[in-house]
């Protein structure tokens, strides 16, 4: 089947991820949704790489994975720190600063 469908799938995944970010309260989950969006991007890259028949996309995908990993490190650190200081991972609790 045509690789284009992967692109559509990716789009769907991206949307799901975005929706998750908007909907979920738990910081971890939100963060995972972000990762989902990144992976959707990966899928797109790979799919197009397949379509175009060049490797740039695939190479890029690997880079993204690495970056995602790094992001996880930083992100989890921050989230955990927040959790420890307020005993909740809800992003809505982190709303001291407003207006």
């Amino acid at each position: 089947m045509s690789p284009v469908n992967y692109v559509y799938l990716a789009a769907v995944l991206f949307t799901i991820g975005a929706a998750g970010v908007l909907i979920r309260r738990n910081a971890i989950v939100v963060f995972m949704c972000v990762e989902l969006m990144l992976n959707a991007a990966n899928l797109t890259l790979v799919a197009f790489s397949r379509i175009h028949g060049n490797l740039d996309g695939q190479i890029m995908a690997f880079f993204v994975m690495v970056v995602a990993a790094a992001e996880v490190v930083v992100g989890l650190a921050i989230i955990v720190m927040m959790y420890r200081s307020r005993h909740s991972a809800s992003v809505d609790d982190a709303s001291l600063m407003k207006l």
């Binding site: 970010v21 939100v30 992003v91 709303s95 600063m97 207006l99």
Partner: protein, 629 residues
């Protein structure tokens, strides 16, 4: 010779500067200094006069160009003097009477702390008035015009601690300012029409301008004249002006300044000759004021106010005469001069009376003063006879001429004017007799009131000027009449043509005499035969109106003052609420907008994410849209 002209103005101006800036060390000698300067000016005047008589008629006018004042392109205003017969007449009147009144004031103001200041102001007035009559162009005349206004303001309000005086001064200046605006506009019109406002070129070419323009200019000049000469409708200030010291009333508000309007009209004769409608307006104003002032004069119990009313009315005569054109100019000036003598004399007399009566002005508290102050009585009496036009005295000649000229105007207009002037003459006789009787005859109503005055004759320094003026009021008229001397003297400037009266001169004179007899008789019946009540009776409606100056102030109050107050209050409010409010409103609006928008920043990450997502969606959509369209 020319170079002397400047001195006429220079002496009093110097005097004013010295006296006003001199400081307290001049307090003791200041007044004589003032007299000296005005006297010097008078002497200069006489010298110039002599010189002028020595020259043939068409070389009499002198001209002195001092310096270029405001040169801007075609607008060339010079400080230059023009001394022709008309100006000469005024110079002599102003400096002569002025000097006399200076001398008189030395006595009158003896005990006043501000005497130095007073003489400073008097000198300032002389300077301004001389500038007015000597100017060779309308702008310089305007300077003198407002200068005398200032002097009058300062002198009316001389006793500033009296609120009434301060208010009267302000009122006088304001009303005059209205007139001044008229003069200013007249000058604009001349400038835009002729490209100049110097007398000679303007007047020589007046007729080119066309009747419409001349009428406009004429009416504006009339407005100015009304303001300065207290003619209806701008007459309301003169009565209050009596708040000033009596010498001031004599000099400024009787003899000289108030007649400036007549001078202006006469000087601008060429313009009026070309604008019959304007002339008619002048005549009407004159006639109305003539009667108006006379009626007011009849009802006043305050001796100065009564005389003020009469001044108004006499100037009415002059304005009327001036409005008649070449047949009247000379007589207007002639009456102006004679009036200068006898009215000044009357005022000084009044002042002398007040001097002896603890500054009491209410004639109902006078009576029988003739034996206490004989000199005053005689001089005042002569002035009285002169003003009512008693045959042989100066007033008789000048007034008679005007009445004759009024008839000579011809047609019904002539008849009406003649009638008005006759009636005026009758009323004049009436109120002057009234003043005379209430003051010097009847029983002594001042006796037995608290702090009863001790009437006494005034010192020489005061009586001498009165005597001199009395001479003037007796003989001046005859002098001028003799061989039409005065008319011939002025003719080169003002033109003269004989009016053709429907009645012979004799008839007119007869009517005049009859009129004055009626007036005198009326007054005698009312005040001579039966005692004068020391409190004013309620009086008829007309009397009460006349006591309130025929409701002129009430009218102004309703028509101008009140609306003005409302307007300003309204504007002050509007300025705060509307003009300012608009701006503050805008600021407040932004504040509110800001307050509302910042609520979007609710502190929740997810809502931020929503806005980002939405933003992204819009961005994409917009981009696609851009391509679509």
């Amino acid at each position: 010779m020319e170079s002397l002209i400047g001195l006429l103005v220079g002496f009093p101006l110097l005097g004013a500067a010295v006296l006003l800036c001199g400081g307290a060390k001049l307090d003791r000698s200041g007044h004589w200094l003032g007299v000296l300067f005005s006297g010097a000016s008078f002497v200069t005047g006489v010298v110039l006069f002599a010189g002028m008589l020595g020259r043939p008629t068409d070389e009499r006018a002198l001209h002195q160009h001092l310096f270029s004042w405001v040169p801007v392109e075609s607008f060339q205003a010079d400080v230059a003097f023009q001394l022709d017969q008309l100006a000469m007449t005024f110079v002599l009147l102003i400096t002569g009477v002025g000097t006399l009144i200076h001398i008189y004031s030395v006595g009158y103001m003896e005990h006043d702390v501000g005497r130095r200041r007073f003489f400073g102001y008097l000198n300032l007035f002389l300077a301004a008035m001389l500038l007015l009559v000597l100017a060779d162009n309308y702008l310089l005349l305007y300077v003198g015009w407002e200068g005398v206004g200032l002097a009058s303001y300062l002198l009316i309000g001389f006793w500033q601690f009296k609120p009434s005086a301060a208010v009267a001064a302000k009122k006088a200046f304001l009303v005059n300012r209205v007139g001044d605006a008229g003069l200013a506009i007249a000058i604009f019109l001349m400038f835009t029409t002729f490209g100049t406002f110097t007398f000679a070129p303007v007047l020589e070419n007046a007729t080119d301008a066309g009747e419409g323009m001349l009428t406009a200019i004429g009416l504006m000049l009339l407005l100015a004249a009304c303001g300065k000469s207290a003619q209806v409708p701008l007459q309301s200030w003169l009565g209050d002006a009596m708040e000033g010291p009596t010498p001031v009333s004599a000099l400024i508000h009787a003899a000289t300044m108030v007649t400036a309007g007549v001078y202006l009209i006469t000087r601008s004769g060429a313009i009026f000759n070309g604008a019959p409608d304007a002339q008619t307006a002048v005549v009407v104003v004159g006639a109305v004021t003539l009667i108006f002032g006379a009626i007011v004069g009849c009802a006043k119990d305050d001796i100065k106010k009564a005389l003020a009313g009469s001044t108004m009315s006499q100037i009415g005569y002059m304005v009327l005469a001036a409005g008649l054109g070449p047949i009247g100019y000379a007589f207007a000036i002639m009456h102006l001069v004679t009036h200068g003598f006898f009215k000044a004399g009357l005022f000084l007399g009044a002042g002398s009376v007040m001097h002896g009566m603890n500054d009491e002005v209410d004639m109902r508290k006078y009576g029988g003063l003739r034996k206490y102050m004989p000199v005053t009585f005689v001089t005042f009496g002569l002035g009285y006879l002169a003003i009512i036009g008693f045959p042989g005295l100066s007033g008789f000649f000048s007034k008679d001429q005007i009445i004759e000229a009024a008839f000579a105007k011809g047609g019904t207009q002539g008849l009406i004017l003649g009638a008005v002037t006759l009636i005026g003459a009758a009323i004049t006789a009436y109120y002057m007799t009234r003043v005379m009787l209430m003051t010097f005859f009847g029983e002594e109503r001042w006796r037995g009131q608290e702090n009863e005055p001790h009437p006494h004759e005034s010192p020489k320094v005061m009586t001498v000027p009165m005597i001199v003026l009395a001479f003037g009021s007796v003989f001046a008229g005859g002098l001028f009449k003799a061989g039409e001397s005065f008319v011939h003297w002025l003719e080169p400037v003002t033109q003269f043509e004989h009016g053709h009266s429907p009645f012979s001169a004799a008839v007119v004179t007869g009517m005049t005499v009859v009129a004055l007899l009626i007036g005198v008789a009326g007054a005698w019946l009312q005040y001579g035969r039966r005692p004068v009540p020391s409190v004013a009776p309620r009086g008829s409606l007309l009397t009460r109106a006349a006591r309130r100056d025929l409701l002129q102030d009430d009218f102004n109050h309703v028509a101008l003052v009140k609306p003005g107050e409302y307007l300003t209050r309204g504007l002050v409010y509007a300025d705060n609420k509307v003009v300012d409010g608009a701006v503050n409103g805008t600021a407040a609006a932004f504040g509110g907008l800001s307050g509302r928008t910042r609520r979007v920043q609710n502190g929740f990450v997810r809502s931020y994410a929503v806005s980002m997502f939405g933003g992204a969606a819009v961005l994409v959509a917009a981009t696609l849209l851009m391509r679509a369209v």
